[in-house]
């Protein structure tokens, strides 16, 4: 009995400590972004919005933000389309060796980003693709596809394809049936897959590192560069903005399909 209680007590303490460990660094960033001081220090001194103002003035920061958003959005969209089509083929058993192919297609998740980055750099060189934007876009499709595949495959395995057949007999062509019936029914899978994929692309460092050039830098790389030159609270301001955006997106998703449904996929 007492041993039981002791065990539960330890588990509870561990849970609280882990949550604190996960949450504190994020929480600390927010007050620091409002500091008057020019150094990155907690607790913050005074209150000012100067670091938010500086975001606009730091060379290349907004450009990097825009590039990262572009690359993340486009590569995620591409992965959603390709990943869903691939997942349908795999789930419907139209492919011999579907299980092996499935494992292969989600394997970049398990591969160190450095390896992937070097391999992609090599490949782009070989095929003569020098443009940084296109290199990043293609590489990020590789990064995002497994995230989308994993969640879409999970949703599809619960989806009754007789619904697609029903839609077809009611007058929808096959693509239209997918759009009208399959897409709304696996929407939670799409959204959570897309969210993970977007974030994976947005803050990817190890792969992008090999593919950027002087004028085409993604946000994580630009931030780290900046940190090396002037480690001031601008970075905290950028982080706070990103935290805010993430919270807004999560609230929207919750409204749309429910976070619980998304988390269960």
């Amino acid at each position: 009995m007492t041993m039981d209680r002791l065990g539960t007590g330890i588990a509870w303490t561990a849970l609280i400590l882990v949550i604190a460990f996960l949450l504190l660094p994020i929480v600390v960033v927010i007050p620091v972004s409002f500091t008057e001081s020019t150094v990155f220090r907690f607790p913050p001194e005074g209150f000012s919005l100067q670091w938010y103002g500086r975001i606009r003035n730091v060379d290349g920061l907004l450009g990097a933000l825009w590039l990262s958003a572009q690359i993340a959005a486009l590569s995620t969209a591409t992965s959603l389309l390709l990943g869903t089509l691939c997942a349908i083929a795999l789930v419907r058993g139209l492919v011999p060796g579907a299980a092996a192919i499935t494992t292969f297609m989600v394997s970049p998740l398990m591969l160190p980003g450095l390896v992937l980055g070097i391999a992609l750099l090599q490949t782009m060189r070989e095929v003569g693709l020098r443009d940084a934007w296109w290199s990043l876009y293609l590489a990020h499709v590789v990064i995002t596809l497994p995230f989308v595949m994993r969640t879409v495959l999970a949703s599809l395995s619960l989806f009754d394809f007789a619904m697609v057949d029903a839609a077809r007999t009611l007058g929808c062509s096959y693509p239209k049936a997918l759009w009208r019936v399959l897409v709304p029914n696996i929407l939670p899978g799409f959204i959570s897959g897309a969210l993970f994929a977007f974030i994976a692309s947005f803050d990817n460092y190890p792969v992008s590192m090999f593919l950027v050039d002087v004028r085409t830098k993604t946000l994580p790389i630009q931030l780290l560069n900046y940190l090396e030159i002037s480690p001031d609270p601008t970075l905290a301001a950028v982080s706070t903005v990103l935290i805010g955006l993430t919270v807004i997106v999560l609230i929207l998703c919750d409204r749309l399909v429910g976070l619980r449904r998304m988390a269960s996929i």
């Binding site: 007789a162 057949d165 839609a167 077809r168 007999t169 009611l170 007058g171 009208r180 029914n185």
Partner: protein, 370 residues
């Protein structure tokens, strides 16, 4: 006939006496497995035909070929004289009620029913009265705005039927529409659905593996056996004149005895069985191995009419079925012999172990090659 039942213009054009739905020489294989083998079928306008056969005999595959969800390897399918073999599913106007109904869980009852109309470009305003009419037809009016996931099995079936009918298909295919319902509900729904479809005046094909269900819902029954139609006939013919042992066994019960032809005269053969000689109309060469069979209700206890077949056997089991009583006969365990007799009431003194004399008319006795 309601407005729903008005056949689509396409269905009327070119209607021929050859049958509303004509399937000719259709074959389908999956890899090495031949699932449909040179199958032909003709269904008249307004007729209800059941595809009856054990699980895996190709019923769903045939249905999917007719609906355009599968492309047969060979053969031709026409509806109302129009060749639809090469048409994709969405241009065939063939309604399907799927085995588990395949309702759309993200839509309400009314949206499910309106789905086909909207997909075919009917405006929301035009679709609304037709959806309401279909809802009324299946008595689901008050459930219009419910999510389909909240419905009972019977209600889901009604929605599935309404969803398929509202677009005025030229043909309705139903794949084991009652298999998801419990027994009691199944019986009510069978009668209800048959009545409804009659009212609408549609041509329908039911798939089922349940022979009783086939007898209840259809005008004619196609008994399928591994990818072929073994016999297509009205229920009475199927029951009274099965063309093979397979059909005999699949539809209804029977007493069945293996034997050998010992005499042939004037279209009547005499078969030596484990219970003695039995005469039956038929043409076989002397010495052929055959099986004779008689339906349970064609047998009486005692001497029967003059010239009837008579055999004697021991009763092994008696089952009281309410309106009638079933006797099971004690037959040698080897072989496929079996004995089932049904009587309106059990005579005094008959009990398990009793020896009884069974009489059945020569004309009621069937012979099949074994």
């Amino acid at each position: 006939m309601t407005a729903l039942g008005a056949p689509a213009p396409a269905a009327q054009a070119g209607a021929s006496s050859a049958g509303h739905l004509v399937v000719t020489g259709t074959s389908k294989r999956f890899g090495a497995a031949v699932v449909l083998e040179d199958l032909s079928l003709s269904v008249a306008k307004g007729e209800f035909v059941s595809l009856l056969g054990p699980s895996g005999c190709g019923k769903t595959t045939l249905l999917r070929c007719i609906a355009g969800l599968l492309r047969p390897d060979a053969g031709r399918i026409t509806v109302a004289g129009q060749d639809i073999t090469a048409l994709p599913a969405h241009r065939r106007n063939v309604g399907v009620v799927f085995q588990n109904y395949a309702l759309f869980p993200h839509l309400t009852v009314a949206e499910n029913i309106g789905f086909g109309l909207r997909a075919q470009g009917v405006s929301r305003a035009e679709a609304a009265p037709r959806v309401a009419e279909a809802l009324a037809l299946v008595r689901m009016g008050e459930h219009a705005d419910k999510p389909v996931t909240s419905l009972s099995g019977g209600q889901q079936q009604r929605v599935a039927v309404a969803r398929a009918l509202v677009v005025r298909p030229s043909l309705l295919l139903l794949d084991e529409p009652f298999s998801a319902l419990d027994r009691k509900l199944r019986e009510t729904m069978q009668v209800e659905l048959k009545h409804l479809l009659r009212e609408v005046g549609i041509t329908a094909i039911f798939v089922t593996h349940d022979q009783e269900e086939a007898l209840v819902v259809s005008d004619r029954i196609a008994v399928m056996n591994s990818g072929r139609i073994e016999q297509l006939a009205d229920p009475a013919t199927l029951y009274g004149r099965p063309v093979s042992l397979y059909v005999l066994d699949f539809v209804g019960q029977s007493t069945r005895l293996a034997g050998r032809i010992v005499a042939v005269e004037d279209g009547v053969v005499t078969v030596e069985t484990s219970l003695g000689p039995v005469r039956a109309p038929g043409r076989f060469a002397p010495g052929s191995r055959v099986a004779v069979a008689v339906r349970p209700e064609a047998v009486t206890l005692g001497e029967g009419v003059a010239g009837a077949n008579r055999v004697s056997a021991r009763v092994s089991e008696i089952s009281f079925l309410g309106s009638r009583t079933q006797l099971h006969l004690d037959l040698p365990a080897e072989g496929e012999d079996r004995g089932v007799v049904e009587l309106p009431r059990l005579p005094e003194g008959v009990q398990p172990g009793s020896r009884v004399t069974l009489a059945f008319r020569e004309a009621d006795t069937m012979v099949f090659p074994a």
